[in-house]
């Protein structure tokens, strides 16, 4: 048991690693602050565009969304990170992560919001337009607010996935939480820093997982 604790919960190792783990945590949070708003903005754009049922809009949109949903995010990230320099573009790890996350997460947010918009009865639009609201005003003030409320559990769930996904930035050497933990582990030959990182992720995200469970079961009960 002592050996187990010394291996996985080694206080000295964790204390020594804590400054760089903390740096990693800030980088993770910074990534979240960039990736989530970007993804949501892109998702809203995709969802609103999907309202146009014209085939010239509809099919390219479906192709775009399915293309980026089919790619494992890590593959997309590595492709951007390893491929762009060959095309003579140097934007650094953070830029690559931002682009990769934007392409991936906006497609997911877009799908969720599209489902939300489609869940709003036609009568809502007709009622709004009959009072003289423009199409854009109807979308902004009548359709989107209801759509967001209808798919709130999915939006929270996807945001949770985005936060967890930031860990793949470690693969392109962006010094976020997992990267720093692995650095510390390779220096100390002790897995405690990774355990510490796991605990940090868990403490950070557990409240959202609980919230999500509640939201999901409430959505089920409403049916």
């Amino acid at each position: 048991m002592d050996e187990f604790i010394a291996t996985f919960f080694n206080v000295e190792v964790i204390r020594a690693a804590s400054p760089i783990l903390l740096q990693g945590l800030w980088m993770t949070l910074l990534l979240v602050l960039v990736a989530v708003p970007l993804g949501i903005a892109g998702g809203v754009l995709l969802a609103v565009l999907s309202v146009f049922r014209h085939p010239a809009v509809r099919w390219p949109l479906i192709a775009w969304v399915d293309f980026f949903r089919a790619f494992p995010p890590l593959v997309l990230l590595v492709f951007i990170y390893a491929g762009l320099p060959f095309a003579g573009i140097e934007i650094g790890a953070f830029g690559c992560v931002a682009i990769g996350f934007f392409l991936n997460t906006s497609s997911y947010y877009g799908e969720i919001l599209r489902a939300g918009i489609e869940s709003i009865p036609r009568g809502q639009v007709e009622a709004a337009r009959s009072t003289g609201l423009s199409a854009a005003q109807t979308m902004t003030w009548v359709v989107l607010p209801q759509a967001v409320r209808n798919v709130l559990p999915d939006l929270v769930s996807n945001t949770l996935e985005v936060v967890k996904l930031t860990s793949i930035a470690s693969v392109v050497a962006l010094p976020e939480l997992l990267f720093q933990a692995r650095q510390a582990q390779s220096v100390t030959y002790n897995p405690s820093p990774i355990v510490a990182a796991a605990i940090i992720y868990f403490l950070l995200l557990w409240p959202f997982v609980r919230l999500l469970s509640r939201l999901e079961h409430k959505a089920v009960a409403r049916r």
């Binding site: 590595v78 390893a82 060959f86 095309a87 470690s170 692995r182 557990w206 999901e216 079961h217 009960a221």
Partner: protein, 226 residues
């Protein structure tokens, strides 16, 4: 060489592609194998946990809820790294393949449990009452009346979640699983040309575009009934 030619030479270099195609194909089949294993074991374990949870044994349920929360909250890559780099300190040294398999199985099982459990809760109480009123026991009611309906409700979200988690097989490249991504990025290092990555990307598209389209179909197919 104009810029288009340079682009093709860089990203679609036929010679480089031909060299590495066989290895990418091998990686492709390894990815398929890993994905199938994860889907089977993850869904089976998730279903089992949901069934156990429906028996309502308090301490057991707390444990299930905690484990489900844990594996929903932890990033899959963190779990993979923890198992691959951590377990050897305990004397067990799982390969990268096994580490990825175990990790993603646990993650999929957690999500599947939550979805199936939600489905069980969504089956109206009257179904339980009708079955029990004809003398069916708890277990028979669960397996013959409630679960079939719960699973039907669960299929669309379960399909999407399974697809998303299966894509995590690419994470295996971090722990030296010779799947598509790791073969492709290794080849980029050797050949100083990103064409193998293009090939890898195409391999992923061949693998997952049909799967994503299938998920879309399942969603509409099961949305109409009820």
């Amino acid at each position: 060489m104009d810029s288009w030619d340079r682009f093709v030479f860089t990203f679609f270099n036929a010679q480089v592609m031909a060299t590495y195609l066989p290895r990418i194909v091998e990686g492709f089949f390894l990815t398929v194998q890993l994905a199938l294993l994860i889907v089977i074991s993850g869904l089976a374990l998730g279903l089992l946990l949901a069934v156990v949870r429906s028996f309502g044994i308090r301490p057991l349920n707390w444990l299930i809820i905690f484990l489900v929360d844990l594996f929903r909250a932890l990033p899959p890559l963190v779990i993979i790294v923890l198992i691959y780099f951590g377990l050897p300190s305990l004397g067990a040294a799982p390969s990268g393949f096994v580490s990825t398999w175990i990790s993603l199985t646990l993650v999929l099982a957690a999500f599947a449990e939550e979805i199936v459990w939600g489905g069980i809760l969504a089956v109206p109480k009257g179904q339980w009452e009708a079955a029990r009123s004809t003398g069916l026991g708890f277990a028979t009611t669960l397996t013959h009346v409630v679960l079939p309906q719960a699973l039907r409700l669960s299929i669309p979200p379960l399909t999407n979640r399974t697809i998303a988690i299966t894509k995590g097989t690419a994470l295996g490249s971090v722990v030296a699983v010779a799947e598509i991504l790791s073969v492709a990025s290794g080849a980029v290092g050797f050949s100083s040309n990103p064409s193998p990555l293009t090939l890898g990307a195409i391999a992923y598209l061949i693998l997952f575009v049909p799967v994503v389209a299938f998920g879309r179909w399942v969603e509409t197919r099961f949305a109409w009934k009820r």
